[in-house]
């Protein structure tokens, strides 16, 4: 594997191998000295054209725990402001000697394009509404740690703004590849235009779906991507699609609650629900570092093909 651009590049075997590898790195991150020299001498550049807290810090932490050097680039404070093109920008960064570029961009396909321009390994850290492969991997890794390596038969409801969510697209594909049955739950205005490429069922009634699920995966209501009002009010959204205290109380004890963050507390998830033991939201963040270590190690270190 030269790049990680889409979860389609991985398949079930690739996901399994990266999750197994991540298991080793999770152990590393829990040591007193949570660092190994595996990628000493390699340089990882985080090239972010969109804001991010956890993804970027997670990749930087992952790279540092592998002893790689890191460079950070934010479009907002760079020569992009002076009109430098995407191609010139990434080629400039590569000329400084980087082995991997972790790219987030508002346009779908930007990481794929960059991969044709540079020799460095390219990791898609979110491109527009398209994909977010490492989020999907860490979601799968988190579920595997709770349910065992196979997700065969697990019923997952992905709730919220599916149409605008790259997390929903990537995670649906990975969950389905591991054998889970995914149901997308949203108001009709937030469902994808077509289910082509979505190995999932759909529903517009959260209360009908909840008794039948093992995992509730909540998506953030994305104010910044919302050009048109897709629902009358936040309050109405919460009433029909939020995981409120009352809804959470009706879930079986072993049902897990996930969220990719950042949370809009009180909108898609009640603050109390996010703090309950069934919530694995903080665990997802910790697992994210281990999974990204596995991705960077596979691309830069192992010399072993994934998938």
């Amino acid at each position: 594997m030269k790049h990680l651009l889409s979860v389609d590049d991985l398949g079930r075997d690739g996901v399994d191998e990266l999750c197994e590898l991540a298991e080793s790195f999770l152990e590393v991150t829990q040591r007193d000295i949570p660092k190994v020299p595996a990628l000493r001498g390699k340089t990882v550049a985080c090239v972010f054209y969109e804001d991010s807290t956890r993804t970027r810090l997670s990749f930087e932490t992952a790279a540092k725990r592998l002893s790689a050097d890191t460079m950070a680039f934010s479009a907002g404070t760079s020569s992009v402001k002076k009109g430098e093109s995407l191609r010139d920008t990434v080629q400039t960064i590569e000329a400084m000697g980087v082995d991997a570029m972790v790219v987030r961009h508002g346009s779908a396909g930007a990481p794929h394009r960059i991969a044709t321009w540079v020799d460095a390994a390219v990791v898609n850290a979110g491109d527009g509404r398209h994909e977010h492969p490492t989020q999907a991997l860490l979601d799968a890794f988190t579920l595997r740690r709770h349910r065992g390596p196979s997700l065969d038969g697990a019923r997952v409801a992905i709730v919220g703004d599916v149409r605008h969510s790259r997390v929903a697209r990537s995670s649906t594909k990975v969950f389905a590849a591991l054998g889970a049955k995914v149901t997308l739950v949203a108001p009709p205005t937030m469902l994808p235009e077509s289910l082509d490429g979505w190995p999932a069922g759909v529903s517009c009634d959260l209360d009908a779906v909840l008794p039948e699920v093992d995992v509730v995966y909540l998506l953030r209501i994305q104010h910044e991507r919302q050009d048109a009002m897709l629902f009358p009010s936040l309050r109405e959204y919460t009433t029909r699609f939020g995981l409120t205290v009352e809804r959470a109380a009706r879930l079986r004890d072993d049902v897990l609650v996930m969220h990719a963050g950042p949370m809009n507390r009180g909108v898609e998830i009640a603050p109390e629900v996010a703090e309950t033991p069934r919530s694995v939201i903080t665990e997802q963040v910790g697992n994210g570092v281990a999974v990204r270590m596995a991705v960077l190690y596979s691309l830069l270190g192992s010399g072993a093909p994934v998938a």
Binding site: D16, E17, E20, R31, S302, G303, A304
Partner: protein, 225 residues
């Protein structure tokens, strides 16, 4: 491929044993069987002798920890601990070390982790005996010393191996050796431990098929020269 490695299949990230990738006792590969080095009985006696030597050298077993290197070194460390307990009455703690991320050939060939590093005691208080099945180039032991450094500062580190097959590439030697076995670089030393590989314990020498005479069988007891 950690799955396979953890399932006890031949580990491809270890050059130390000299086994060809995918090679095991049941897999012929390019090399053919040349000689039996240790029978199950020989191996049992070697474990017992090494266990005695470790206790003798350290004037007891009270301040030791045995740390096995994945995969078979961990099994050997457990056996040595059981032997020490049987004659000394001291339960020596046993740890397991995965050195994959400390290797110096990452990026040159596939290097995958083999298991979780687990050392149940603070190594800063105890003499660490690193345990492996075969000592070859010394690069695994070098990586193990680095990995160990991150866990603490042991007062001393010693090395116990079942077979020293020569061809060192680093200034490393073993303190306790089951057998010194002169080998050619192209040969494989194949170790089979019942608790890791199934079947019966044994160590065999495999080598290229072309025209080389088959080595004579080892002397009974398989003592090092």
């Amino acid at each position: 491929m950690p799955d396979a490695a953890r399932a006890g299949q031949p580990d491809t990230s270890r050059v130390e044993s000299g086994a060809a990738p995918g090679g095991g006792l049941s897999n012929s590969g390019p090399n053919v069987f040349r000689a039996s080095v240790f029978s199950a009985d020989d191996l049992r006696r070697a474990h017992t002798r090494i266990a005695h030597e470790i206790v003798e050298r350290n004037h007891g077993a009270g301040a030791l920890v045995l740390v096995g290197l994945y995969t078979r070194g961990v099994a050997v460390a457990r056996r040595l601990a059981a032997a020490i307990e049987s004659f000394e009455g001291v339960a020596v703690p046993v740890g397991a070390l995965d050195v994959a991320f400390y290797r110096d050939d990452i990026g040159l060939r596939p290097v995958q982790p083999l298991g979780a590093t687990e050392v149940p005691v603070d190594v800063s208080d105890r003499t660490v005996v690193l345990v492996d099945d075969v000592l070859f180039t010394g690069r695994t032991v070098r990586a193990a010393l680095d990995a160990l450094t991150e866990l603490g500062r042991p007062p001393a580190v010693q090395l116990a191996v079942l077979v020293d097959r020569g061809h060192r590439e680093l200034p490393i030697r073993a303190d306790f050796v089951g057998k010194n076995l002169p080998t050619k670089a192209a040969e494989d030393v194949r170790v089979r431990l019942a608790d890791v590989d199934g079947g019966e314990d044994g160590i065999e020498l495999w080598g290229p098929a072309d025209g080389m005479p088959v080595a004579p069988p080892p002397r009974a007891g398989g003592e090092s020269p």
